[in-house]
Amino acid sequence: MWIKHKSRYLLLAMAVTTSVVNANALTQESLQAFFEQWSPALCVLKFTQAAIDPRTGEEQQQQGSAVAVVVSPDGLLMSNGYLQRENVTTSNFRVVVLRDGEETEYKATLLEKPKDVNISFLRIKSDAPLNLPSVRFTRNSRLGLGEEVAILGVMSETMDFQPTLSVARVSAILESPRITYCLDTPLKLGSVTGPVINDKGEVVGVTGFELSSTEGGDLYTRSGVPMVFQTELFIPYVDSPPGESAEEEEGGEEAWLGVFTQPLKEDYAEYWGIDPPGGLIVSTVMPGSSAEAAGFQPGDIIRVFDGQPIQATLDRDVLDFTQMIRGKQPGAAVTVELLRGGAPLTLQVTLGVRPRSAQEAGEYTDETLGLVVREITQDLRTVLNLGEDVQGVIVRRVISGSPAHVARMQPGVIVMSIDNTPVTSVEDYEKGSDAIRAAKPAEVSIFARAGAATGFFRVRPRW
């Protein structure tokens, strides 16, 4: 009995194998052909992501990259839906397109995110009309259990962003709440939103993950399972792209008020005798900001901003306020209604320009002493809790074995003068460094601050 069954399966298996061979099986040759055909539609998306810790209100910025797929020749892109999730602001999008061995970088804007699929759409900004290689999706995108698919992506872990190819199998097909194809291999970061290609060379979807409930997804999400977003889920958005995301910054300079705020929760409102709750408590006024100039004080409660009522009662509402300010133009005059000591007060404020972040800061590599120094930007000043009296450049890196290394200088040290020349900017440092190269002294005396204390380093350059 058992043997009989086995033989029947064997026959069946043989039959299937033959038929696959007759079609385009995922052989090395076919994989290479698909790679040639579709990998030109891949590009690399670079961005700045800022997450605000809802407990501390502190913003942490980092540079990120993801694979993006060109889905229409005029510059419509699809990328990882994690670009748009709760408590995270992604901005400063740049797209690197590789054509004929040459890299071109474009700016891009984020479009509004589809509600039903964790994919982000972007549009490349270009004055000249674009005609980029793009992916053509196949509408009928059924996959079978155990079916092998090819996945395209880029090498993001090595940061050289070469297109890559991998193969996975459909390990489960879930029927509810909607048809979901799960994959049997973990996805590398550079393969999320990578085109999924079947054995006929058709692009039947892209890879992805669902958002977890803490990231703004449904409670019963299957987050964490690598899956295929089949074309049916997103084709409507490719055909008629969503509008520009309201969260998108206009590039260049952003408006800045210069306050840290907390939501006016119920018990906070009760403490100050304010009814109803809702509003933003000014907790910190940044030195040198337009808020300081307008006379904001810690403890002020913002109730109306530029005609819009502020009814924040949750930590995440603080983000909406940040977005609201970013949506304005630097230099715009804004009326703010607030409560100070329980009494209403109206302040006029001219919005300033958001100071450069540490990522955009000027940097200089001093090869003579072996230091990489950076401008002390406002955000760094906040993170390191440096007073305005601390002027200089911050050592970002000490090159191993260099004179600075031998003199035991360390990253994080703030250089305040070189050989009696005060340093307050990267330009100052550069000038000082040039002077040293011209004079070739046996020793350079660097006055620096480490932590709360200052001191001298004696560096001996090698000429």
Binding site: T56, G57, Q262, S283, T284, T382, V383, N385, F447, T454
Partner: protein
């Protein structure tokens, strides 16, 4: 029968015994080099010091994660007077609620802490024995030479009546601020006489049976690299504590670096001023980092190497408090004189207190901390810990926060905060607002004494509770 005998006939135990036998003559040979005169000196020194040794068992107060706890510790010490003054380390007897001393005759006595000095890690205790006690005599540490034989005596790991022998490796080791240990006013005697945990506070003894140092530190992960506070500076501190209960020092707000940080030229004498505290008399008088201090009240100063720095700092500290001092400085190539008035140096260690109802602990600010945190001197209190899940922690307070205000009152001292806190507890005030500084950012933290029930419940936890 046969099988059993074979098993017992295994060769290894015999071999082990053989190994031991081979080892013993070696040890005896090692001892033989100390025979005769030197052996007698070691024995005499040990016999002189042994009756004065004190095994110290303090009940120490520690603050962990927002809670005050009492832990048992062990240390060493020695009696320095017939009427019962005992010397040990500050890190042994400081911050303790009770100090039990076990004397060499095994009698147990509770000691009173006369005073402590965290800057030199010295504490003085007083015993009321009702009889004259045997006491140790100090030797001079200034005339020590490296290579001299010394004994470390005390209670390593609580093992009383222990002695170990070694030599002075280095007489003036400078440890700077390494590993969180700050000893601004002294260098250290480095010895290879075994010093372990529990030796702290015990005497380092020369072959004349005199105390030449107080065993205090051992380098972790190293073999027999121990450090003792030199007797000369210890005696000054002990005398000050016995006389006043504490050590008063002057402060100008200056930090120094050795001349080598600027030049190798030995003819340039002085000490480099590396830092001037922003709120200090030296700053107000116009002293600048980079100036070279060449004299204090006309007396020359020289710190060519870092080992010379403690003496320079001590010179400033030993100036009378609140009096004018003339500093001779070199600014560039110009000799200048600056007058400044000394202030009293504030404690380098703040008091801590526990606030049970809110579940957190608070420490006093030190000048160093105030400067680092960018808080005006004399303001604020440091949150040293919060009990996880306690009211303070649930309200959003965290260790490292600095409390600037409670309701509308600026916080300036622990006693003032304690008073406000107790009032709030007694009157069962529902809502108390704290204004705190966290890094560069300030925020409001509302303590809602009735709000504990509203703390967010972890969804995951609910699923596991049946």
């Amino acid at each position: 029968m046969k099988a059993e005998s074979r098993r017992t006939d295994k060769p290894t135990p015999k071999g082990g015994r053989l190994g031991l036998l081979l080892f013993l003559p070696l040890l005896l040979a090692g001892c033989a080099t100390l025979s005769g005169n030197v052996q007698q000196q070691v024995l005499d020194a040990k016999k002189t010091m042994a009756p004065t040794l004190v095994h110290i068992r303090p009940v120490k107060e520690v603050f962990v994660q927002g809670q005050r706890q009492e832990v048992l510790a062990v240390g060493s010490g020695f009696i320095i007077s017939a009427d019962g003054f005992v010397v040990t380390n500050e890190h042994v007897a400081g911050e303790s609620s009770q100090v039990i001393c076990v004397l060499s005759d095994n009698s147990e006595l509770e000691a009173r802490v006369v005073g402590t000095d965290p800057d030199t890690d010295i504490a003085v205790l007083k015993l009321e024995a009702g009889r004259d006690l045997p006491y140790a005599r100090f030797g001079r540490s200034a005339s020590l030479e490296s290579g001299e034989l010394v004994l470390a005596m005390g209670s390593p790991h609580g093992l009383t009546r222990s002695a170990s022998l070694g030599i002075i490796s280095v007489t003036d080791r400078y440890l700077g601020d390494s590993g969180g240990i700050t000893a601004p006013y002294n260098n250290w005697i480095q010895t290879d006489a075994a010093i372990n945990r529990g030796n702290s506070g015990g005497p380092l003894v020369n072959l004349r049976g005199e105390v030449i140092g107080i065993n205090t530190l051992a380098l972790l992960g190293a073999e027999n690299v121990g450090f003792a506070i030199p007797a000369d500076i210890a005696r000054e501190v002990i005398d000050a504590i016995i006389a006043n209960g504490r050590v008063q020092r002057s402060w100008l707000g200056l930090s120094f670096q050795e001349m080598r940080a600027k030049t190798d030229d030995p003819s340039v004498q002085g000490a480099v001023i590396a830092d001037v505290a922003p709120v200090s008399s030296a700053h107000e008088a116009g002293v600048k980092p980079g100036d070279i201090l060449v004299g204090v009240n006309g007396q020359p100063v020289n710190a060519h190497y870092e080992e010379d720095l403690p003496a320079v700092r001590k010179r400033i500290a030993d100036l009378p408090v609140g009096e004018k001092v003339t500093l001779q400085l070199l600014r560039g190539d110009t000799a200048i004189e600056i007058e400044a008035v000394t202030e009293e140096k504030m404690a380098s260690k703040g008091m801590q207190a526990e606030f049970l109802e809110w579940g957190f602990t608070v420490a006093e600010m030190t000048p160093e901390l105030a400067r680092r945190a960018q808080v005006p001197p004399g303001e604020g209190l440091l949150v040293s810990g919060c009990i996880p899940g306690g009211l303070a922690s649930a309200s959003g307070l965290a260790a490292g926060d600095i409390i600037l205000k409670m309701d509308e009152e600026t916080i300036r001292s622990l006693s003032q905060f304690d008073e406000l806190y107790n009032k709030a507890i007694d009157e069962k005030t529902k809502l108390i607002m704290l204004f705190v500084k966290r890094g560069a950012v300030t925020r409001f933290v509302l303590i809602n004494s009735e709000g504990m029930g509203e703390a967010p419940v972890d969804k995951e936890m609910l699923e596991y509770v049946d």
